[in-house]
Symmetry: C2
Subunit: 155 residues, 2 copies
């Protein structure tokens, strides 16, 4: 039996990532980062807090937000804000992918870039505008929701 700590390897990995990013290594940060990594992505702050608590025991909501902001600023985590829903977090892969959001269940699914590596990065704007990022969000209905209820909504 060689389980060093609750959370095991993901925690060690998280610690390494934190250190590499020049962040202080705390139980809370490891736990939250591990939670983001382990989930398939797209969990909100509260869900991540719940998961992290399995390791830390207690974890304030404030701390969760602090950690997530630190991780986001360090480039370890990507924050996806979908209008009308709490912000969700996923591991930063730097692949510039986009998102499909289900209008019914609000599920999020990653979508590969439609065109090349940085799609739609050539808006028709005067040169003075400095474009740094393009976020594409596809709105629609996911297979699960289509199956459950053919199509009642018209929006």
């Amino acid at each position: 039996m060689t389980r060093p700590a609750p959370g095991g390897e993901p925690m060690a990995l998280a610690a390494a990532h934190l250190r590499a990013a020049g962040l202080r290594v705390t139980v809370q940060r490891m736990a939250v980062l591990a939670a983001v990594s382990e989930s398939a992505g797209h969990l909100d702050a509260d869900a991540l807090r719940e998961r992290a608590r399995r390791v830390t025991g207690a974890l304030s909501l404030q701390a969760t937000y602090n950690v997530l902001r630190a991780l986001t600023e360090a480039g370890l985590v990507r924050c996806t804000q979908i209008p009308g829903h709490p912000a969700r977090y996923e591991v930063e892969h730097r692949d510039n992918h986009h998102h499909f959001v289900c209008l019914r269940c609000a599920a999020i699914r990653d979508v590969e870039c439609t065109v090349g590596a940085a799609p739609c990065m050539e808006p028709r704007l005067p040169a003075e505008y400095e474009v740094r990022e393009a976020a594409v969000t596809f709105w629609g209905v996911c297979p699960d929701c289509r199956g459950a209820r053919p199509d009642t909504s018209s929006m």
Copy 2:
């Protein structure tokens, strides 16, 4: 002197639009719709309420939200939700344009479609996904902000 009502022609126009959309014509609705039309677009509910109040005198925030929802559902107004900012409204032109958002001052500017009429509408998703809309948001720095402060932020 033939000024029929405070607000004048825009109000009459708004009334006509409301009637055409099958909505009841109320002072509040005319005032809000006129406010959306007169502004260059991209005002939030509170700003629109302020403008509408010049005509209606009093107007509750709740009524403003009700009216904006009715107008949006009727297809007269388009609601643009930028993560981290209150929802903003503009007249629906059905031209499928997108938005540029300044990271510093949060100003919004319309952007013509990058490719054809419905850009990026071909995400690499299984056929079971029903895509209804694609929203493209460009994040960057507007000319005003670049001029005022060369470039201090790195985000």
